[in-house]
């Protein structure tokens, strides 16, 4: 058969059942259509045009392409390419970029059909597409701008700027992201590269009696089958606690449904996957441990060692019994939150290849340094024999902190002395990487007759699943943020993380804080209702001020921004008929006695080339842009000549890109690096400094370990604050608008700031009303991305982002982290709004709102 591909006549005589995406990516070498979920047809990342219509190439059979015309971003022509690239960059419609090429092809088909689309037309057309970063608003802005530009036959120049802090510097190298020209790990092809596929257990908890790999190893094209015995080093790793064997050996018991038993390496991915199915395994099947409450009991079987209790975080202060007795009003509630999927658009993939006497790994993980430590341990190599290079990824949100396939790829490359790629399909990804903790919590809070909060008593129990990951830190964070953005004189908090055979739970944007905010904010409204207090004023009167204490007893010395954010939404709150309020606080930096360390290096390579090296992961949030802005602000160097690199070889120490800390740490490290550079620039031209490097470093090593006896508690070096207002449709009770007032200390880049928050609100609203990854007997009920409840463009309410700047004493230029707080208050604010509408107090998430809307409560509301 024949068809045209980007205008070129192309012949194809292969299998008519093959999907177009595989043909484009593997045979034609066109990688702009991204594989986000094939063959689930859920994400739209693979969209191309077939005869002018946008189709999902992952489910379009080659047979349907016969005689047709296929167009990808490569075939749009330079004019349209420029329009889309510049429009998306200018509007901030691109973050990690993984979803964008598909969206461009869909939008282009729409604009051809309807040159003057409305926002609603665009949102409707985007139905097959998911974006997990942007919240869609800026994408729709970009499509509207593109349509207008094309309609008027105008040019759209590339946006520029001086790059100073506070300006809308366009996102670093984002034009390539828009058109799909950026190569994510899965887009990289190496000479002679082999492919791996994992064989998982068939049961969440079973003793593995025998793993028979003979049939698989004998298959044509199979190069090797690796099992637990093949690790030269220690196969059990972990970010904090070493409890995650990268493969389970015969005689051992599996931990969860994606415990790995073997890795097949073959000439093609298809052969590797087919061979993995041929591995026969005998088990002694055991009942999985699935209920965290039962798992806590001493008579429960255990997942690891002799107890399922991974950790317990306790903080208390003041006399609870007395405070309770003296409180005029008390509120009590038991809440349960759900497990959810991160839903980053790029599934996990790693490529490893042998180096002189070790391995190099192309990773999309959130922490190349942690990856390196763990890989070195697996292979029994010294650290300097392992190099991990970060390839900017298609979203992380916490879900790429633990290793999934990096270790397997590295093992295979090291043993076979060949480049090897290991990739997870979407189904595998959903069943594998750690999720958001389902947390059960029992809250008791009280206030006096004047509405001053008195005490807060909480118990949190979180299901951390099969592996620790960072579960102890997540529950520690729930405990540390149990009192939210409020001042409670008396606290009594305990948070327990429990192992089960469910999917592991670990880091996800918000990190245990969202769950706490949902419970606390619901009860704050209960107190208001009991005592007849005004919901806004009550929050304002109790919000943390400088000099007040957090749950852990840390005194906020300066920079408390909660009240300012409340003021920012005040008028709209009173004007709305059905509205809910919630505040939030979120740490910047891991703290709790763990050091937050960052170093960075600026190297002058040429009169028109300056390189910044740092160790933080770019995952769409814009850390590379932030780094550029700091250097421009400090030195006046033109942003156009700056390049940013992340690579363990540069030895720029950093930790996991987590805890909203990248901006603040990279900023301070770079300010430090610029000190000498500034001095040199006073006496030299840039061209005279070629070859020089400037190192900068910033460390916070003075935070307090929980339970330590110190005079002054410093749990985290900084916090950010927020208030969100959720306004409902007056007829149906659907969420109509979210107003988010956020204190960023200093807004580095308004476009990135709004983008982070709109994306967070998208995630927070999904968490509140639709997202859930349901488990049944230790297995996910569904591994379909479409069924995870992630909101689509036309389901998003209006969003208004209000930036507030209450400077932080330690942040660069006063900045605080904003990566996570955007979804801390959302679920609580939605719950409180819904209560106003129908009088029902919701205590479990998600709070599904029926399509037809809710029944209004008969009396009251407003």
């Amino acid at each position: 058969m024949k068809f045209t591909l980007n205008g070129q006549v192309t012949e194809y005589n292969g299998d008519p059942e093959l999907d177009l995406m595989t043909f484009l990516r593997e045979a034609a070498g066109i990688v702009s259509p991204k594989n986000g979920c094939a063959p689930q047809a859920a994400c739209g990342c693979c969209a191309v045009q077939l005869n002018g219509k946008a189709v999902l190439s992952c489910v379009t059979k080659m047979g349907k392409v016969d005689d047709g015309a296929v167009t990808t971003t490569e075939g749009l022509g330079t004019y349209r390419q420029n329009v889309y690239a510049n429009a998306f960059v200018q509007c901030g419609g691109v973050q990690c970029g993984f979803c964008i090429p598909g969206i461009v092809m869909q939008s282009d088909a729409l604009i051809n059909k309807n040159p003057e689309p409305t926002r609603a037309d665009v949102e409707k057309a985007l139905t097959p597409h998911l974006c997990r970063c942007t919240g869609y608003k800026k994408i729709v802005d970009a499509v509207m701008l593109s349509a207008e530009t094309i309609r008027n036959e105008e040019e759209l120049p590339a946006p520029t700027g001086n790059g100073h802090v506070g300006t809308r510097l366009p996102k670093y190298k984002a034009q390539d992201l828009v058109l799909g020209f950026h190569h994510y790990v899965d887009d990289i092809r190496l000479e002679g590269m082999a492919h791996g596929a994992l064989r998982y257990t068939d049961h969440p908890r079973a003793r593995v009696l025998k793993i028979d790999t003979t049939a698989a190893a004998a298959m044509d094209g199979v190069m090797r089958v690796l099992t637990a015995d093949d690790f030269p080093g220690d196969r059990t790793v972990g970010l904090i606690k070493q409890d995650w064997p990268q493969m389970i050996a015969e005689g051992e018991t599996t931990k969860f449904i994606s415990s790995v038993l073997a890795l097949v390496i073959a000439e093609t991915e298809a052969i590797a996957r087919a061979a993995a199915q041929q591995i026969a395994v005998d088990y002694d099947v055991l009942d999985p441990i699935i209920d965290m409450h039962a798992a806590r009991k001493t008579d429960s079987p255990t997942v690891h060692g002799d107890t399922n209790i991974l950790s317990q975080s306790i903080t208390n202060r003041g006399d609870l019994a007395q405070s309770k007795a003296e409180s005029a009003y008390t509120a009590h509630g038991i809440f349960q939150t759900q497990m959810i999927e991160h839903g980053f658009m790029e599934p996990e993939v790693a490529i490893a290849y042998p180096s002189a006497d070790g391995v190099e790994v192309l990773s999309q993980g959130q922490g190349v340094y942690d990856d390196r430590v763990q890989i070195a341990k697996l292979l029994g190599l010294p650290l300097d024999k392992v190099r991990v290079i970060m390839v900017p990824n298609g979203g992380g949100f916490g879900g790429k902190e633990d290793m999934t396939v990096q270790g397997h790829a590295a093992l295979a490359a090291y043993i076979l002395q060949k480049p090897v790629k290991v990739r997870l399909t979407r189904d595998e990804s959903i069943a594998f990487h750690p999720k958001r903790h389902p947390i059960w919590m029992e809250y008791d809070i009280g206030c006096d007759a004047d509405g001053k909060l008195t005490f807060c008593k909480v118990e949190f129990v979180g299901d951390t699943g099969a592996h620790a990951s960072v579960g102890m830190k997540v529950l520690e964070r729930s405990a540390g943020h149990a009192t939210g953005a409020y001042n409670f004189p008396v606290t009594d908090v305990v948070a327990t993380a429990v192992y089960t055979n469910n999917l592991p739970c670990g880091a996800m944007r918000g990190f245990g804080v969202n769950q706490a905010a949902f419970g606390l904010e619901s009860l704050i409204d209960e107190l208001c209702e009991q005592g007849g207090f005004d919901r806004w004023q009550f929050r304002y009167d109790n919000a943390l001020d400088d000099g007040d204490m957090t749950a852990t007893g840390q005194v906020i010395e300066a920079g408390a921004g909660a009240k300012t954010t409340l003021l920012a939404v005040k008028d709209q709150f009173y004007a709305a008929q059905y509205a809910g309020l919630a505040c939030g606080i979120k740490n910047t930096g891991v703290g709790n006695g763990m050091p937050d360390v960052s170093s960075a290096k600026i190297t002058i390579v040429a009169p028109d080339k300056v390189i910044i090296d740092h160790g933080w992961t770019e995952m769409g949030q814009g850390v590379n842009t932030i780094a550029t802005q700091v250097v421009c602000t400090e030195t006046g160097i033109d942003p156009a000549i700056i390049e940013v690199h992340i690579d363990t070889k540069a030895e720029q120490e950093a930790g996991m890109t987590t805890a909203s800390r990248a901006t603040s740490l990279v900023g301070n490290a770079l300010i430090d690096a610029c000190k000498q550079l500034k001095v040199d620039l006073q006496t030299h031209e840039l061209g005279e400094l070629i070859g020089r490097s400037y190192d900068g470093r910033w460390i916070v090593d003075w935070t307090t370990k929980p339970g330590a006896m110190v005079e002054k508690v410093y749990t985290h070096y900084s916090y950010s604050y927020a208030t969100q207002l959720v306004i409902l449709d007056e007829e149906t009770g659907h969420v109509a608008k979210i107003v988010a007032a956020h204190d960023a200390g200093k807004i580095f880049n308004p476009t990135l700031f709004e983008g982070q928050l709109e994306g967070s609100i998208h995630m927070g609203l999904g968490y509140a009303i639709s997202e859930e990854l349901e488990m049944e007997n230790g297995r996910p009920k569904s591994t379909m991305l479409r069924q995870m409840g992630i909101l689509r463009a036309k389901e998003m309410p209006e969003m208004e982002i209000i930036g507030v700047e209450v400077p932080d004493p330690y942040g660069p230029y006063g900045a605080k982290g904003v990566g996570e707080i955007g979804l801390v208050p959302t679920a609580g604010a939605v719950a409180n709004a819904l209560y106003q509408f129908d009088g029902v107090r919701r205590t479990t998430l998600p709070m599904r709102i029926p399509r037809r809307g809710l029944q209004k409560r008969v009396n009251g509301g407003g």
């Binding site: 047809a41 489910v59 379009t60 059979k61 479409r786 069924q787 409840g789």
Partner: protein, 291 residues
Amino acid sequence: MKPAPFEYIAPNNLDEALIAMEVNGFDGKLLAGGQSLIPVMNFRLAQPAVIVDLNGVTELDFIRPNPGGGVTIGALTRQSRLEHDAIVRDRVPLLHATIPFIAHPQIRNRGTIGGSLAHADPAGELPVLSVALQARFKLQRYDKERWVNATDFYQALFMTALEPQEIMTAIEIPPLPPRTGWAFQELARRHGDYAQAGVATLIALDDDGVCTYARLVFLNVGEIPMVATEAAQLLVGERISAESITAVVNHAIQHEIEPTSDVHASADYKRHLAGVLTKRAIRQAANRVTS
């Protein structure tokens, strides 16, 4: 008359169809065999702005035996295929035997099982059979899917549980309990017309000829397929005799059907007709019980 103008979308596979319905569900309609939809559009009884043509979604045209007995049928399977299929004949003889009652061969060559079930004409044979056989329907939306029992699917005249964006993709028919006989009886003025009344019957008997299970579902004597639960229960524990049949029939036609008069027949006549047909059907079903 000609239909009002509409946009035409022809998806190539189920995913594209689900997306098209997700986008256009509220003002769009699915087109399967077109044997009911095209007439109503020609008369402008329906004026969808968008037509989503399922005919390219060939993956919905299948008949699969289920491991535990019974079959699963793709919604786009043509009625004529059911008429000639050995799996259907062996596993769901009631369905196989009833298809010829539907319209004419040309219409059955186009008309699909899903279209007929979704169209929900109370005079349609397939909705009645699906309720009698306790079938389940798979209803898929882009981001969710669910199974709905036929008994819950039909809600009111031409009203079903289908949401505007949903597509019926499969019909699962469970196996009949052992020792169950079946019968379908209807009367139409001319062969191929919609029937004036009809009934599908299932009867199970034990070794002594005592009824252990009975099901009676009526056609065109109510807004939806009418299930005579109480009447069927009267038969359980009894032998099949003139008396027991009369008691059942009288209860069913007096209390469990709601015929209305139309141009072809009065309500009383339909009631009478239903009684006559039921008597025949019970006997026929009982005779078909094999051990």
